[in-house]
Symmetry: C2
Subunit: 307 residues, 2 copies
């Protein structure tokens, strides 16, 4: 099954309690496509970068069968840049610098070779751009998954709701679910949000795991308790990449398989946070991934023999 | 297997976003013994109340085969009283009034009929009092479970550590685990705390579930996603009561059975928060409990068929 991923490819400069980086490669499409590449090939990326983007990273993407045919290169412009600092609890952060650069007027182009894709992952971007991508596909994919963030709820709620109405799965965090729905209880929030269109809702709770809702069903995947969260940047995107990559590789969008996909996404995210940026996602082995999934099984498994 | 429970029996006055109560019956031993009574009979309570305590509640305890032989009644004094207000998120609260009253000089008496108990639950109390109870038992119980709170870490850390060194299972919340260990990561905190003595550590995370640690093993039990948390008072004690009640009823302290016990504790706690105070714990049926446990199974269950 073919997968198309839309999102930013960017530079990040990060500061965590464990250290800081110069500009390193980041961006939603970067994390999503790397994570998905462990499940499905090729992964087709739609994005835009400046002439300054890291060519070694493009090479790495090609080595992992990630197509960059849909990545526009604006030679005389600069790539999107974000700089941020994480606080000690790693759950909160402050933005130091945001330079939209090429992302400011991003007009996504879908190469002919991407048409007919079965799975579409809309990484966090302006909701109008996400909607444009759906409109520019000749056929609606089998499954459309969308990520977004509170920023768009603050400045473009109507655009956001129009796009949300078009997707099958929405993936947001707990605070965003509360803001989008106006409900504090996540169970109530899920009902409100699914009434906006998506058949499935994933609510990410960072170190507290993730909830998958559909109709009246709910599934909970824990996050793996880790000794150290080194750098949380990209964890949510990596989760999304593992999730849709697993779905695309199996071609099964039943609720049972979605549960497995949430576990695979959580497993990939647990690798992501072990090192700065994309470092840990460059050379995973299938054994490492399957061992990690087994850790999730062990973490929650119990025999429910009643008295 | 016989169970002895030590802790406060008290009056609480509560204010939540959903309403407020006059003085209603509360206290750690109240919640623990009610929850445990669904699994094991009799439950032997060691506590102290004033002449003002609610006789209807004592009757209820007797109806549920909870022995109050070890509950001292100080006719001319008043019962422990706590008043608090919960904020909108229900995870934080402020204390409005604390009147120790009879609890101020509580000297626990162990009736002869309680001697030889197999399981001992030390509800939150001054650690020196908890230690006295252990010392006054002629034989060490098969399993000693202890709850405590940050208050004792602030004012009696050395006493607390002496008592912790004597127990098998310590049950605290995430912030308390961090304070007690000086480690932010709960995985690191667990190692530090288990090195203080307990073979098992339960870290309660409220709406985010609970972790059970032993040696290098870890188990995670989610909290049930609820539409409404009406009143969180007593949820931690109810969890503890369900946990030790289930263990005492099965007489099995293997890690596998401890996992089940954590699920039973979580199930009982999920009932507790549905109404004010002990209201929801007075008349549960075995069917209700087993259906609730099944909801936990459904919540985390997935088939980990690898690709």
């Amino acid at each position: 099954m073919s997968l198309t991923v839309v999102g930013s490819m960017a530079f990040d400069a990060l500061e965590t309690p464990f250290g800081k980086t110069d500009k390193i490669v980041g961006g939603a499409a970067t994390y999503i496509s790397l994570a998905a590449s462990y499940f499905v090939k090729p992964v087709n990326v739609v994005s835009v970068v400046g002439g300054d983007f890291d060519q070694d990273h493009i090479q790495l993407m090609h080595q992992r069968d990630i197509s960059t045919e849909g990545v526009q290169v604006k030679e005389n412009e600069k790539s999107f840049f974000w700089s941020g600092r994480y606080f000690n609890d790693m759950n909160s952060r402050e933005t130091l610098v945001t330079e939209l650069n090429v992302l400011g007027d991003f007009d996504p182009i879908i190469p002919q070779s991407y048409q007919g894709c079965d799975y579409l992952m809309l990484g966090n971007l302006a909701p109008q751009v996400q909607k444009t991508v759906i409109e520019r596909l000749n056929e609606r994919p089998k499954l459309v998954v969308m990520d977004t963030m509170n920023f768009w709820m603050d400045i473009a709620m109507e655009d956001l709701k129009e796009t949300i109405a078009l997707v099958d799965v929405l993936s947001i965090n707990d605070e965003e679910a509360r803001q989008l729905s106006g409900e504090y209880s996540l169970v109530k929030a899920a009902k409100v949000i699914m009434a906006m269109g998506p058949r499935y809702l994933i609510i990410k709770k960072g170190e507290h795991g993730a909830l998958l809702f559909s109709e009246d069903k709910v599934f909970f995947a824990p996050a793996l308790p880790l000794e150290e969260v080194f750098d949380p940047t990209g964890a949510g995107d990596t989760f999304a990449g593992g999730f849709i990559g697993y779905l695309a590789s199996t071609g099964d969008t039943s609720f049972g398989n979605m549960k497995r996909a949430v576990i695979y996404g959580s497993a990939l995210a647990s690798f992501c946070v072990e090192k700065f940026g994309t470092e840990r996602l460059k050379n995973l082995t299938q054994d490492e991934i399957e061992n990690r999934v087994q850790q999730f099984v062990n973490l929650v498994q119990f025999d429910a023999v009643l008295q």
